[in-house]
Structures are given as structure tokens and as C-alpha cells.
Symmetry: C2
Subunit: 335 residues, 2 copies
């Protein structure tokens, strides 16, 4: 590994198939960055278990699915290091020590956690493991001594929390960790869902999964929110807030043609079915190579898990070295 390259950490909870929102907001960026960065990609199964303690089999199934999604989009496991969180026990160790450096009051104020607790409807019965999640995330980031963490805008408070922990640790014990920098990827970090009401999310049922077959893709695009007042093809339609045009803006490589279509739609005479068919073509051009790569890897799940194992073993070496530094700094390196 090239010592001059910046270390990047990203990851996903394996709680369902990855979708176009993940692709636009993160996966595409990872494929682009993997060559000039030392990139770690974490399948955060421990974090997924914190909100799904009673469904371990669901989390386990999704570990393989997320790994297939990664390979499908073009994250190269010989270039990026893909690892499984639960198989790096050093992260748990570091989390325990970091928990001493954060107050309960500070965790209660973290806006990202507040919002997630609200979304999941936990209220006061939030599992302690879920509540602690900014601290375990700080351990995920620092165990590989990441310099850069690409995140959505809404995740920035987690990076701030991590930086606070890093500063406390470095001040009290010894300067072991770099302060990570949170970076919001340039293009549309938030992809709206098919219904146009909220960010694309598998739990809201408004998502196109990267692994959706063509007929599923067609059905979903055909159900997309457009202009509810555009009843007749001949009438003028509205482009603003029309999800099909929003998606064409993001995914259609021919923006000149998209602008022409918008003009046509605005003045009337262009039907929803026509623009939806175009979007299906555009999305299928993106997704069908992914579907093909996925199908190849899916034939041998054992080999896919082996790729994950190799990445995890590489990460574990780094993690073990980090814990040597941590133990020395904390004076708990007894033998």
C-alpha cells in the first residue's frame, strides 16, 4: 500500500439491498476514488445488529448481498479493502475505551442519532448499542486511522463527534489518531425516492435496488411521481418536482436532449410514458452491466465470502497495529 495515499473509510449496514440512492450518493464515488486513495469499505454488520438484534439471519443474508452489490458496481476487492465489521474485534475494544471519553449528555445531543431514533420510532426504548453508535463509528474510522470519510450532509455530526473523541484521546494519552475529515461527495448526495416525498430508502419502499431485474425496474419507473395535473399528453406539464426529470438530470448522459425534452414537456405534447421509457433505458444502461457482474459472482457465494475474508484479514492486521498503539498510549500494554 502506498503510504502517500490518503486513507478513506466508507461502508454500509447490511440491512437490505443497496439502491440507486447509495449508488449516486456514495458507491459511484468509491469506484472513482479507489485508485488514488487507500480505500477501506466496511460492511457494518455489528451496527446493523444494533437495530436488528432479533433478526441475525437477516443481517447475515445481507452481508452476502451487499458484497455482491459492491462487486456489481465495480468496487475492486484487489484495489479497495472490503471488510466485515464483526470479524474485527479490535473495533469493539476501541469502542469500549472511546466510551470513557464521551458523556451521555453529549450523545443525547447528537442530531444524527436523535433523527435516527425518531425515524425508527425507538423513543426511550432505544437499545443502548444503537444509542452508542457515534462512538462505535468513531472506532470504525480510527481503527484504520482514516484521514477522509465521505458522508452525507446529515452524517456530518458523526464526524464531528469522532473528531472530539480523537482530540480527547490524543490529548489525554498520546497523539495516536489523525483527525478525520468528513467530505460530502460533490454530486447529489441525496437522491429522492420514486414518490418524490423523501430520500430514497429501502424501508420507505420508494427505492430502485441495484439488483432489481429489468421488469421490476420498468414497473417502478412506471409508478414514479410526475406532474399530477398533467392528465392529457397535449397539455403543458411541470418539470419541477417531477421525479422522472429529476432522475434524467442525474442519470441521463445526454443533458442537451434532456433539456429539449423538458421544453417539449412544458409546452405540451410529451406524455409521461414517453419520458418514463427513456428513463428506463437510461437506468437499464447503468444497471444491466451491474446485473451481469452480479450474476457471475452470485454463482459462487463461497468465493465472494473468501474475497471479504481476505480484505478483513488485511484490515485486522492494521487494526491490531492500531490497538498496540492505543494500549501503549493508555498504559494497558501489560505483556
Amino acid at each position: 500500500m502506498d503510504a502517500m495515499k490518503k486513507i478513506i473509510l466508507t461502508g454500509d449496514r447490511p440491512s437490505g439491498p443497496l439502491h440507486l440512492g447509495h449508488y449516486v450518493g456514495s458507491l459511484k464515488n468509491r469506484v472513482a476514488m479507489q485508485h488514488d486513495h487507500q480505500q477501506y469499505v466496511m460492511i457494518a454488520d455489528v451496527q446493523a445488529l444494533s437495530a436488528n438484534a432479533e433478526s441475525p439471519e437477516k443481517v447475515r443474508d445481507n452481508v452476502l448481498q451487499v458484497m455482491l452489490d459492491y462487486l456489481a458496481v465495480g468496487i475492486d476487492p484487489t484495489v479497495s479493502t472490503i471488510f466485515l465489521q464483526s470479524m474485527i474485534p479490535e473495533i469493539a475494544e476501541l469502542t469500549i475505551y472511546f466510551l470513557n471519553l464521551v458523556t451521555v449528555a453529549r450523545l443525547q445531543r447528537n442530531p444524527t442519532v436523535k433523527e435516527e431514533i425518531r425515524q425508527k420510532g425507538f423513543g426511550a426504548s432505544v437499545p443502548a448499542g444503537f444509542f452508542m453508535h457515534p462512538v462505535s463509528q468513531a472506532a470504525d474510522i480510527t481503527i484504520v486511522k482514516a484521514d477522509v470519510v465521505p458522508v452525507g450532509e446529515d452524517q456530518m455530526p458523526l464526524i464531528e463527534q469522532c473528531c472530539e473523541i480523537v482530540r480527547s484521546f490524543n490529548r489525554i494519552y498520546a497523539p495516536v489518531f489523525p483527525e478525520p475529515r468528513g467530505v460530502v461527495p460533490p454530486q447529489g448526495a441525496r437522491l429522492m425516492g420514486l414518490d418524490g416525498k423523501a430520500k430514497m430508502s429501502k424501508s420507505l419502499g420508494n427505492a430502485i435496488s441495484l439488483s432489481d431485474p429489468l421488469d421490476e425496474l420498468q414497473k417502478k419507473v412506471m409508478s414514479m411521481y410526475t406532474d399530477p395535473n398533467h392528465v392529457h399528453v397535449a397539455s403543458p406539464g411541470q418539470v419541477e418536482g417531477n421525479m422522472v426529470f429529476s432522475y434524467l438530470d442525474i442519470f441521463d448522459p445526454n443533458s442537451a436532449e434532456v433539456e429539449e425534452l423538458k421544453a417539449h414537456y412544458r409546452r405540451g405534447g410529451l406524455g409521461d410514458v414517453a419520458i418514463k421509457k427513456r428513463l428506463i433505458g437510461v437506468l437499464d444502461a447503468l444497471l444491466s452491466p451491474m446485473r451481469e457482474r452480479r450474476a457471475v459472482f452470485a454463482k459462487d457465494p463461497g468465493a465472494v465470502i473468501e474475497l471479504l475474508k481476505q480484505g478483513t484479514l488485511r484490515t485486522r492486521e492494521i487494526a491490531a497495529q492500531t490497538m498496540i498503539d492505543v494500549r501503549k498510549a493508555m498504559q494497558i500494554d501489560y505483556w
Copy 2:
């Protein structure tokens, strides 16, 4: 190890020298039980760090001191297994999984933690690691699959919390853990401090350490709270609430003589100095053999740490086996 023997876990935070309160409430019991139980004794340095994150050197120094206290009182490291918490990373791992099985609201209601937070004056700025302490303690207990946990009455809520976690784990995943039983040792679990105001505690400065030299012991006994109205030797004195008699009741092997002394004190003519001198003799008869054993071991701190290392390595084998069971049950045994 004898499979028929019950497994016991006890331990201490290495945050200061152990004192007579520890001896009466716990250490004496451990020496007595070590032969017919499979006993683990944990030096809880991770727990000590949760309230002393900024003083790692203090915790480290006290690891050796507590180990010397154990050897001094007669805990035999070839019979009991003494181990160091921070060197069993499996405890951290298990804690992280247990955190998913407990709600924040439940932790906030734990009376032991509430009281400790109050005592230490943390308020809302309680470190998350300290707040989590019932969960990490559940991991301490279950990592060795302990059946019995001797505790003070005030610690019983921690055992209840542990049992709740064990029941949740066994129900959701698989029956991996026995439900531990909390047992309050028969004799005087709470030894009052020299001032008679509160339980003996190093932080309250009302304690006689097991390692106090004779002159320190003398000075402390001479300062003990007796009967404040007993100004003249000839006057009648009060025995109830008189700490010297409380201690004689506990430590003096000749209870008939103690009863005679009480009668004499009550009717007048027996001075405080006389009863204090008797107590010094009684306590020194207990402490001087400890002091001698301590002095022998203290000559070779490296050998003492080696004994701790051997116990820790034995414990780690058990802990690793427990985590194999846990991972299998949770379906996170990927390779």
C-alpha cells in the same frame, strides 16, 4: 479444573489499595471458597478507567498493588484464576453485543448506577463508559459462564440486570449462558468506616488499608469514633455506635472477653485508649501476616505480574471458547 465445581466470579477495580472493608465483605470469603469452587478473580482495570480515563498511570500502579493485596490475604493464584480485564478483549466484544439487548431507559433506572453516579458527582456529564457499566459487568460474568457472583447487597441490581441480558440472549439466539446467582456473603458485607459515618471507603478517607504499616494502623485506630460523651474514664460509656466495639465484634476472636469489656465500658472505668490498644493488637494479628506475605512478593514485581499473566491467559482460553459459542448463536461465525 473440576467440572463439578460451581464457577464463581469476583473482582475489584484497581483504583486504590484494598482495605479491611474489602477483606470482611469479600476477600476473606474468596480465600475460604477457592478450594471448593472454580474461582475467577478479576482486576477490573477497564472499569477503573471508565471513571479515571485521565489517570491511566494511577490505574496501572494499582493493578500491581491489588495483585499484591490478593496474594497477601491468601488468594492462591495456583488455585484461583486471577486475571486482568483489559487483557481479555473478548469482554469488550461481548459487551458490544449485550448493549443491543438493553435499552437506555433500563440503564437509567439501574439503582446501583444511579447511586454511583450520584456519589461520584457526575450528573449529566457521566461518561458513557461508566453509564454502561452494568452491561460490561454482565460480560465480565458471562465470559467465564459464572454460576455464582458474591456481591454486596447494594450490587444486587447489577446481577438482576445481568440475568435480564442472559435471558434475552438465550431466548433470541441460543441458550449459551447460565443465569448467574448473586450471593451476599454471610458476615457483615458492609464494614463501617473509622468515622462511623459511612461504609469504609478509600475515597472517604475512613479506611484501614490491608497494606498499612503498623504505625499507620495505630494512628488510625487511635483516631476512631467512639462515644463522644465519654470524656472521663470513670464515667459510663456507650457501646452502640462506638466503632471500636463494632470492630472488636467483627475482628476479635475472643467474643466472651469482648462482652466483658462492653459491660465494663458501660458501667464506667474503662478508657477509650485501653479498648483501642486491644483493637490495634487484634487487627495487627490479622494484618501482620498479610504485611509479611506482601513484602515477600513485593520484592519481585515482575514475578507478580507473571502470575497475573498466567491467570489471564487461562481465562482468555475460556473467553475465546465463549465467544465461539456467542458467534455461532448470533450467526456471525463467518470463518
